[in-house]
Amino acid sequence: MKQEDLIKKWLDNSLNSQEFEAFKTLEAFDELTRLDNALQQFKPQDFESNTELEKLQFALKKRTKQQHKWLKPFIQIAAILAICVGFYYFTSNLETNFNTELAQKENILLPDNTTVKLNAKSALAFNNKNWKSSRAIDLTGEAYFKVSKGSKFTVHTSVGDISVLGTEFNIKDRDNLFEVVCYEGSVKVDYNKISRILKPGESFLVLDNKVVEKPKTKNTSPFWINNESNFKSMPYSQVLAEFERQYNVTFSVNDIDANEVFTGGFPHNNLDNALQAITIPLNLAFTKNNNKISLKRE
């Protein structure tokens, strides 16, 4: 066999024993062995598959974390946008609120110069932003309106809606009592399925969910505007409720018929006078104890 073939076979580690003997006798054998031994020193550094794999996994984990980093600023921007939009939406729909406490009255001037007087323990809310397109007000309690001329003006109460064009009227929406009195112009009242247009002096009264007819009034404004309360054939309970609102007191009542009809009034600025005004006509006696007043038959 030729030297070249032997060397090639040696390179492929495929010499059989006979050939290996022949290979040993080759002139180049010593040289090749020396070369081969020397080459072993060029071995690469050991490659620890396991430690290298750990390194790789660590690098990959770090990388996936980094890949999510771009997401962070996007989320921040999105959050800020969401807050801005939410804030805008919230404020643009936010209603302007007015509340009065017990024994407190308030004058309010609406954006269109409509004046509203809010009686004690009442609340009024309207949307300032939408005011031009729709003049609408939410009301609980009692208020007197002087509506300036313009588009339809609507007052929503818990039981009915009142809409007008430009007029003066009073709304009283209390427990078991709903009363609208028109003083100037005309007022349209929608209560349940009843719809009625009130002319000056006319009023619409609902007592305990029943519509009650009332004679025309000649007053040009409600009494409470002038710090007085006035009642015409009203249940005594309503009188006491109004009294409590105006003076921030509570009544305890013994054996008195709360549905007894009362006609008369009381001032808002003098407690003793007011108490006399509501008790004497019915022959009642009162005793005062701080904010508690007890009523008894004489």
Partner: protein, 171 residues
């Protein structure tokens, strides 16, 4: 055609198995071809990271050649201007030696000659030759790793040996 068992290697277990199978060969291949100074281990890591990122696009049976190609390209980007130098490990001085100083010196000289002779081989020759000599890989295995024919491997290895012997004699 038989249905493939796995569509891709986007699975930690399969990926890790792939790493254990090919990482060492790849690292050594890079070392033989480009030398030590470009850090073949790091390039091996980079190649596997790239494979992981593209795991959906690389079919399992193409993964090996993908790895070798990517690592090779990564190296080439850096290797352009470097001359390949294989480091021979420092032989530890023996505590007691019968070797004469002349012999030791001759030995050192020989190693230096061998080193420069290896450097002057072509990349293809050196890679195949070192795989064969240092790792004892047979021609067929090398042919598979490099994606060439057995005949070509044999040619490269024999050519390398011939050139080395000549160079060492001349130097």
């Amino acid at each position: 055609m038989a249905k493939k068992l796995h569509e891709n290697i986007c699975d930690e277990i399969r990926f890790n198995a792939l790493f254990k199978k090919h990482a060492k060969d790849l690292s050594n291949f890079l070392y033989y071809k480009f030398g030590d100074h470009l850090n073949p281990k790091d390039k091996t890591q980079d190649a596997f990271i790239k494979l992981w990122e593209n795991c959906k696009k690389v079919a399992p049976d193409k993964a090996k050649s993908y790895l070798f190609t990517v690592a090779n390209n990564l190296m080439l980007n850096e290797a352009k201007h470097h001359k390949v130098v294989l480091k021979h490990q420092q032989t530890k001085p023996k505590h007691h030696t019968n070797e004469s100083p002349e012999f030791v010196m001759e030995e050192q000289e020989y190693m230096q000659k061998l080193q420069s002779a290896l450097s002057s081989l072509t990349d293809a020759q050196r890679t195949a030759f070192m795989m064969n000599r240092v790792e004892g890989k047979r021609h067929k295995e090398i042919a598979e790793l490099l994606g060439i024919s057995t005949k070509a491997v044999e040619k490269r290895i024999y050519g390398a040996l011939k050139k080395l012997r000549e160079d060492i004699k001349e130097l």
